[in-house]
């Protein structure tokens, strides 16, 4: 029980009259990788955003390390410092160099000394083969390189949990591999991750659990084997049939 990192309990989220999440419950344990699959608009992104308080929740509860995020005394900025988030469109800061993108969080949010963090940041960039590009600006990098920098930027915060929102959807097909390889490495090193993705082969290889979302409802959740080979629900089987 103590190794539950994130817990969602019957989470409801509405935008106006539209219910985007209708009572989603989910647990994420330390060192676990959970992939969220489902059609566009099924609520995957919203679920991720509820987890790091970018969205408020209209019903149910979200807790991180057993502390309810519904509690008004919770500081969202503190919560987000423990949760890394990577976006579909990278969202690197265009006015900062690659290195400064990586340093911004640790230096300005964690108040660490720039000189202390610099070596760590360079080591991280070295791991993705972009140490030589540290002084370049993001728009000089390819999409795949930018996305890997974005991942490193959130890793520099030493997060307990990484949220990834369709991080390969905006990439050229030829660049998808390099990003997924990095995520696989992270998974093998035991990084706790909640990944919204359309890459079924990747989900099958990397995820411990796969959750299928349909119109804001978590239809079923299970191991890749259970979901891909023995899905219980017709809608899951339908979805998998269509994406194959």
């Amino acid at each position: 029980m103590s190794d539950v990192v994130l817990e969602l309990n019957s989470v409801v989220k509405r935008f106006g009259d539209h219910e985007v999440l209708s009572g989603v419950s989910l647990q994420l344990h330390r060192h676990e990788v959970v992939c969220l699959i489902g059609a566009s608009g099924s609520g995957k992104s919203t679920l991720l955003r509820c987890a790091n308080m970018l969205e408020t929740v209209d019903g149910g509860s979200v807790s991180l390390f057993g502390q309810s995020l519904m509690d008004p005394r919770i500081d969202p900025d503190l919560v987000r410092r423990h949760i890394g988030m990577v976006f579909q469109s990278f969202n690197l800061f265009p006015h900062l160099s690659v290195l400064d993108n990586v340093l911004l969080g640790p230096v300005r949010a964690l108040k660490r000394k720039k000189n202390d963090v610099r070596d760590e940041a360079l080591a991280l960039l070295d791991r993705i083969g972009l140490k030589e590009r540290a002084e370049d600006f993001p728009d000089h990098l390819s999409g795949g390189q930018q996305q890997r920098v974005a991942i490193v930027r959130s890793l520099a915060m030493r997060p307990s949990l990484l949220l990834l929102d369709e991080v390969t959807s905006a990439l050229d097909p030829t660049l998808v591999g390099e990003v997924l390889d990095l995520l696989s490495d992270l998974a093998h090193q035991g990084t706790t991750m909640l990944i919204a993705t359309h890459e079924m082969n990747f989900a099958r290889d990397v995820a411990h659990q796969i959750a299928y979302l349909d119109q804001g409802v978590l239809v079923e959740m299970g191991t890749p084997d259970q979901i891909f080979n023995a899905a219980q629900h017709a809608s899951t089987r339908n979805f998998l049939e269509r994406v194959r």
Partner: protein, 297 residues
């Protein structure tokens, strides 16, 4: 089967050369053509001053070289104050106003965009402020401040020089404009940037300072400089309060010598002040356009 798309392509080889008639606009001849047309247009405009029935009077009243010099240098015997001294007043007024406007404009924009519940009354005040001062003509603000504050008989507030009241009025009005320019710049920063910054755990203020403002400034500088050019010219309106700046000095020269050449001198020197700024702004806009083209390649 779809119908109506069986268009036959022509087997003739098309002629791709420009027509004979428009050949004078091509290549080096194009340069000659543009020089000739420029001279022609400028000549036409200038010739109006020579052809018009009152042309001679107009030239002697607005372009008398001797009168222009007297207005520029001043003549203490006749009580004509030098435009060159007045111009210094314009320059310090706009320099001080620009600094103040930048500060208050930023503060106003920041207040209007804050989301803290405690700041709600300030948010409402800031919104009302921009509405009011964008709506009242500058000359009225000038008169109200320039004659209103002294009438209050309220210590040092009521004993300042007309130039100071001018600076206050300019700052009041232009802060409202500049606040809107800054706010538009801030709103132009993509939402993803804010999400990324907040996801790193940066506070609202730090996000503003490290992520939003640095990106907004790039967008904001050209329209901001535009407002500053406008502010530089509008220092002339301080003349209604009796501050002796360039326009006022010119008006004095006019009333003493019954010759308007002083106005021409003042106009020329306002141009000398604003044209470098205008050119610089256009240059920045061009550079920005190129940057956008490059980054969207």
């Amino acid at each position: 089967m779809t119908q109506g798309f069986d268009v036959e392509s022509s087997s003739e080889i098309p002629n791709l050369f420009v027509s004979r008639r428009s050949r004078i606009f091509v290549g080096r001849r194009g340069v000659v053509a543009s020089v000739v047309s420029t001279l022609l247009i400028v000549g036409l405009i200038v010739s109006v001053v020579f052809v018009a029935p009152g042309g001679a009077t107009f030239r002697s009243v607005f372009f008398d070289p001797h009168e222009m010099w007297v207005a520029w240098a001043g003549d203490p015997n006749k009580g004509i104050l030098a435009i060159k001294d007045g111009l210094l007043t314009n320059i310090w007024m706009f320099l001080v106003s620009e600094l103040l406007v930048l500060f208050f404009g930023l503060a106003l924009a920041w207040t209007r965009m804050s989301n803290s519940p405690v700041l709600l009354p300030f948010r409402i005040l800031a919104t009302a402020y921009t509405d009011i001062f964008r709506g009242i003509p500058l000359i009225l603000v000038m008169l109200i401040v320039g004659f209103g504050l002294p009438a209050l008989e309220f210590g040092f507030l009521s004993t300042q020089s007309p130039a100071i009241y001018g600076v206050i009025a300019l700052t009041l009005t232009y802060s409202a404009y500049v606040a809107e320019v800054i706010r538009a710049g801030i709103l132009s920063v993509p939402n993803g940037q804010l999400l990324a910054a907040r996801s790193l755990g940066l506070t609202h203020a730090s996000t503003m300072r490290r992520v939003t403002l640095p990106q907004a400034i790039r967008t904001v500088i050209p329209p901001l400089l535009n407002d500053f050019i406008s502010l530089q010219k509008d220092t002339a309106i301080v003349s209604v309060l009796g501050a002796v700046e360039a326009t006022r000095a010119a008006q004095i020269a006019v009333s003493v010598d019954f010759n308007e050449s002083g106005l021409t001198v003042a106009a020329i020197f306002f141009l000398v002040l604003t044209i470098p700024m205008t050119r610089f702004t256009d240059h920045l806009l061009d550079k920005d356009r190129v940057r956008r083209l490059v980054s969207s390649r």
